[in-house]
Symmetry: C2
């Protein structure tokens, strides 16, 4: 269905716009506001909004792992139409979420030469995760890495207060 | 369902980002590139991409009116989850599409004082229509007006070559 790709197309446009705007901009803001942080912050706010809707009728979560499982299943599959393939944790607040076929990377060629482009397309999603966790009371740092497209890993480190 | 609002949330973020970036930008581009045209162009490209998917398995259209009917029904309801409520034409290339409850306006308060904000939230959708028509071989000029939120009218004028 075409509505599946509406989000993906729009996401592509945003990434292109943010990078293009950055490239043409010569004032002092250039150093301070990076493209990645702009995209991450957009994702953060969208993640906050979405999780509110998602968890409206949910029972409360019993611990952090329970929250992460919810993100990997319900949250992820509603946004990206598949679940996270693998969730690992060191049981000390660090989680690694692996998606073997990440929706926002499948439209890129998987050739090695595009690997350096990949982080552009992950920043928004890092923000999505961080925003969702934040609204569930967990402050976190979320990073992503790609070693072989279109698979990628998100690392979530929960910040203990 | 929460995925219904993913597009709407992301759209809100884009509008906010484009206007904020414009407000902080003081160089010469400010005059040339308006926010509305930036958003319209994003919509144009997304519309082009979507219509390609949509019409992949479609029979050809018999005339312009047939194309417009398709946009009002299938295209609109996949993106905005409802059909256009009213389609009128002068049979000379001008079409008026009325949506009595336009999805991207329903999240705004319907108070009169917000009426002047409305065009921000219509530019992208004007582009969507123009992009879809363009890929179906029809060049057009698309404008929108709101008199009472959340209803709005899109005017499409087909450009004869």
């Amino acid at each position: 269905m075409a509505d599946d790709v509406l989000f993906e197309f729009l996401h592509m446009e945003i990434v292109a716009h943010v990078y293009k705007e950055h490239a043409t901009r010569e004032d002092i803001d250039k150093e301070r506001v990076t493209c990645v942080s702009t995209l991450e912050l957009m994702g953060f706010r969208v993640g906050q909004g979405l999780i509110e809707r998602f968890t409206k009728d949910c029972p409360t979560f019993k611990d952090d792992l329970d929250v992460m499982k919810f993100l990997c299943k319900d949250f992820w599959s509603t946004i990206f139409r598949k679940q996270i393939d693998n969730l690992r944790t060191n049981h000390q607040g660090t989680y690694v979420l692996q998606d073997n076929k990440f929706a926002l990377l499948t439209q890129l060629s998987s050739g090695k030469q595009y690997l350096e482009e990949a982080p552009k397309y992950l920043a928004f999603s890092c923000g999505l995760i961080r925003g969702a966790l934040s609204n569930l009371g967990l402050e976190s740092v979320v990073t992503a890495e790609v070693s072989l497209m279109p698979s990628c890993k998100f690392q979530v480190v929960i910040q203990k207060l």
